[in-house]
Structure formats: structure tokens, C-alpha cells
Amino acid sequence: MAKITYIEHSGKIHEIEVENGLSVMEGAVNNLVPGLDADCGGACACATCHCYVEPEWRAKTGEIGDMEETMLDFAEARQEGSRLSCQIKVSDELDGLVVKLPEAQF
């Protein structure tokens, strides 16, 4: 279980306890956090679950896979810390994680 803070583009904050094994995307969608469309349901096929991981958490959220890397490369408004939230698996290690959501999903 990890407490994850999702910050909408407007600044609205959602603090959510997410079960281990789920993805950061599922934690948001299951708790009605707006801003993540996740059209493909987590198959790394659509790049509509783009989020920004805060600097202090980038090491713990793991490596970016090849497919994710190239999908992100073509997502709108890529920045330092950009990730596809469906590819970040939740574990105790991520307790306290903070992610920001972009203005719009591609």
C-alpha cells in the first residue's frame, strides 16, 4: 500500500491509498481522479495516462521501458519527469509519491 498524491493541472490535490501491484494509472482511475484518460486500459498503447513524477521520486519509480520512452517522445508537453502512469507499478517503496497531471492528454 502506498499513499499517492495526484495533483491536477488546476492544482487540485487528491491523496489516495493505492494497493501494491496496481499501476499509478489505476490508482487514479479507480478513485475518479480526472485528468488521466487511459484509453487503452494500461497496455502502453495510447499515451493518454501521461503524468509528471516529482524530482525526488524519479529514481524510485523505475526505469522507463523502450516502448514507453518512444510513446512519451511523441506525447504533448513532455518534460523532465514525464512518465506513462500505467507503467509505474505501486509498491510500499512508493509510499508518499507525488505526481502531477498535464493540462490535456494527447
Binding site: 487503452c40 486500459g41 518512444t70 506525447a75
Partner: protein, 413 residues
């Protein structure tokens, strides 16, 4: 948003409970509709995602709770009344009521048809034997899983996406898989000979036997009354512990047609998802809709279409007209290969290969009159993502540039 959008005393009914239905309910609230929303679904489940059924749900990696479209709490939170395991048998457009199987009626001010599609059934002898399955619903997969054990023989009828995805999961799970395809190659209805050839080889290498130009004639039972053989039109008997019939889907148009709405290849709607009845809308697999991009009417079987048409329909129901005009996209996961498809390749005159299929990382671009109309990308996200954008722009790109991997996709504009 117009005044009509709030309409607190009105009832909007959604018939169907798939991706389009779930999205439509959510989008009506986002559009500001404050009246009553009733979602009527024939299956016992809340809206769930179908793509994982032939992939991670079948393999057991995902349970039901991970395939729900929205969490169960959503419907209470958004004040969406759900009536599941409930079949609508008739629309009375004059009275603006629906008749349910129970005989009850349900009134509506506006109605959205998101009835989706159903599997095409094969009327052959033995298709109802224990051990034969179709794959469209959670119940279908639950029924199939019991026989899904290493060492068992699985015969798949139909080399389409469903058949090949199940072949991949089953082979990886240790089953012996045979695919029977009536046409000269797999995926013939949806893609080029080049991509069909690639996937045939991929499956053969992993031990799947693919028999093209082979029609199924019947299924035969053993002494226990359960499925034992698939019999081809040539009379070959292939041992089968389980069989999957994956020969396509048909749009559920009967409700609309019986109510006098035009519905040949889908419920006919305009670019705003409106039918000819000003109070009836439709979205998703069940619609026959115009495509400005391809300049013809199309029907799509895809998640993206279901989600986007649902948003368009919900907006139109609230008096907010936003035309639906998007580049269709699809995906398929088989083994460690991710196929991403943008656009529709129907009618292409030129195919351009970029990258080497032997590396399991390549793309096929389809051009018609020099214009890029579709791309099939295997483990090739840049080609897919950029391709999707270029297709929407109706881009003209020289084949020799597209195939030149020393030019990055970003430079293709």
C-alpha cells in the same frame, strides 16, 4: 453548454453497458447534465473493458476488478442508475418509452443506443458441444478458462485478432494450438499480405499450426459427449479438447431497426452521433457513421471509437455539437509484440516498409494516391504516434523517405 444541458427533470437512458455506455454516462455529467441517467445493460456486469479479455484476463494476470471500465463506486458518485441483466425489447418512439424483457416500461426524454456488437455464430454441427467457446464477454472467458490447461489441444476457428491473441496466450500457457483460417492468409479482412505473413511466421515459430484455406465442417464429440475433434471441410479430423470460434462480430442494430431507424451496417448516425430521431443518439461499435477523413461511411470495432463517439453523443444530447472526426486506432498484443494500428488501410495502392521485420520492430505505411492513409507498427511507437498525426493531416510523403530509417519520424512532416 446550453440551458438544455442541466435539464434537472429529464431522464436520459443509455441502452448497453460497454465502453461507450460507461463513457457516455461520465460525459453527460461532465457536460453538465443534472437530470436522471439510467444505464440498462444486458450482461450482469457493470461496464468493463473488453480488450483484456483475450489477453491479460484470459491469461489470469488480471481479475475482474482490474477490467472494470470505472470502479463500482463511480455509478453512485455520478448518480447513474444501473439496471443490469436487463434486456430492452422495444423502443416506442412516439410514447418515448422502452419496453423491458420483464414487461416493465421505462420512459426517456433522450435515448442513447450503445448496444455494441455480438459474436457471429457459425451454424455448424457440434458448435454447441461442451468445450466449444466464443469470446466476447467475461462469462465467455470464465467458461473457457476451465479447460485452459498445459498439454490440452485448442483449435481456433478464425485467424483474426481474437484468434491470434488467444493463440498467443494459449501457446505461452503450454497448450497445443491449431488455427483454421478459411481465407488464404490470417488477418486478411484487416491488413496487408506483408503483415499477415509476419504474424503467420511469428506464430509458427512458437509452435502454433496455422492452416489457411481451411474451413471447419463440424465438431465431433467423444464417448463422454464432450468435444473431441474439429473436422475440416476436407475431412481432416483434428483432436480438440477445446475450441474457440472467432469469426467476427455483428452490430446489434435490431432495436433501432425495429423502431424504424435506418440501420443496415450499423445504426445510421451523423457526425454528431444523432440518428434521424432528434431524441435518439448512438455511439460505439453499433454505429454506421460518416468519416470526413476517408470520405465515406464506416463502422468501427474499437475502444477509441467507442470512447470518442460517446463523448460526441453526450455533448450532442446536451445541445453541444462537436463533430466526431478522428483517426481510428487499434492495438493487439501477441507474445512480446505490440501491434499498433492507426487509420484504415482499405483501398491502399502502395505499401512502404520501414525497418526490418526480422528484428520484430518495423512498420508498414499504406498510401492511396500518394496520401498516407494507415500504418501498422510492430514494436514501433514513433512510427505509430507520428503516423497517426500524419494520417490526420492527410500528409503526402515520398515512399523513399518513409522507408529511410536514417530520417527520424519527427522529420517526416
Amino acid at each position: 453548454m446550453t440551458d438544455a444541458a442541466t435539464s434537472p427533470n429529464e431522464t436520459y437512458v443509455i441502452v448497453g453497458a460497454g465502453h461507450a455506455a460507461g463513457q457516455l454516462a461520465a460525459s453527460l455529467r461532465q457536460e453538465g447534465f443534472e437530470g436522471k441517467i439510467v444505464l440498462v445493460g444486458e450482461e450482469a456486469q457493470l461496464p468493463y473493458q473488453r480488450p483484456p479479455l483475450s489477453k491479460k484476463y484470459l491469461s489470469g494476470e488480471f481479475g475482474l476488478e482490474r477490467v472494470y471500465f470505472k470502479p463500482p463506486d463511480f455509478y453512485d458518485a455520478a448518480k447513474v442508475e444501473t439496471r443490469l441483466a436487463t434486456r430492452v425489447t422495444r423502443i416506442d418512439r412516439d410514447a418515448k418509452t422502452l419496453t423491458l424483457e420483464s414487461g416493465d416500461t421505462l420512459g426517456y426524454n433522450k435515448l442513447a443506443l450503445t448496444t455494441g456488437s455480438r459474436v457471429r455464430k457459425l451454424p455448424i454441427l457440434g458448435a454447441d458441444l461442451a468445450g466449444t467457446h466464443y469470446l466476447r464477454t467475461v462469462d465467455d472467458v470464465d467458461g473457457m478458462r476451465s479447460g485452459f490447461e498445459p498439454g490440452k489441444s485448442l483449435v481456433i476457428i478464425g485467424g483474426g485478432y481474437i484468434g491470434l491473441e488467444v493463440a498467443a496466450v494459449a501457446t505461452s500457457h503450454g497448450l497445443k494450438v491449431t488455427v483454421l483460417e478459411m481465407e488464404s492468409r490470417v488477418l486478411k479482412r484487416v491488413t496487408s499480405p506483408e503483415l499477415s505473413g509476419f504474424f503467420e511466421e511469428v506464430h509458427c515459430t512458437r509452435g502454433v499450426e496455422i492452416k489457411c484455406k481451411t474451413a471447419i465442417a463440424a465438431f465431433e464429440s467423444g464417448s463422454d459427449g464432450k468435444l473431441a475433434f474439429a473436422v475440416t471441410a476436407d475431412g481432416e479430423k483434428i483432436p480438440a479438447d477445446i475450441a474457440l470460434l472467432g469469426v467476427g462480430i455483428l452490430p446489434n442494430t435490431e432495436l433501432a431497426a425495429e423502431a424504424g431507424l435506418e440501420a443496415q451496417n450499423g445504426v445510421r448516425v451523423d457526425e454528431f452521433c444523432r440518428t434521424a430521431d432528434p431524441d435518439i443518439f448512438a455511439a460505439g461499435d453499433c454505429t454506421d457513421h460518416p468519416s470526413a477523413l476517408y470520405d465515406r461511411r464506416i463502422r468501427l470495432e474499437s475502444v477509441h471509437n467507442a470512447l470518442e463517439q460517446a463523448k460526441t453523443a453526450a455533448a450532442a444530447m446536451c445541445g453541444n455539437l462537436k463533430a466526431y472526426d478522428q483517426v481510428p486506432w487499434f492495438w493487439s498484443d501477441q507474445y512480446d509484440l505490440k501491434l499498433q494500428i492507426a487509420g484504415l488501410s482499405t483501398g491502399y495502392d502502395t505499401v512502404v516498409q520501414r525497418g526490418d521485420p526480422a528484428t520484430n520492430k518495423f512498420a508498414l505505411f499504406y498510401l492511396k494516391d500518394s496520401v498516407l492513409i494507415a500504418v501498422d507498427a510492430v514494436n514501433a511507437a514513433p512510427e505509430y504516434m507520428m503516423g497517426r498525426r500524419l494520417i490526420g493531416d492527410r500528409a503526402i510523403i515520398a515512399p523513399e523517405r518513409l522507408s529511410d530509417t536514417s530520417i527520424s519520424m519527427k522529420e517526416m512532416v
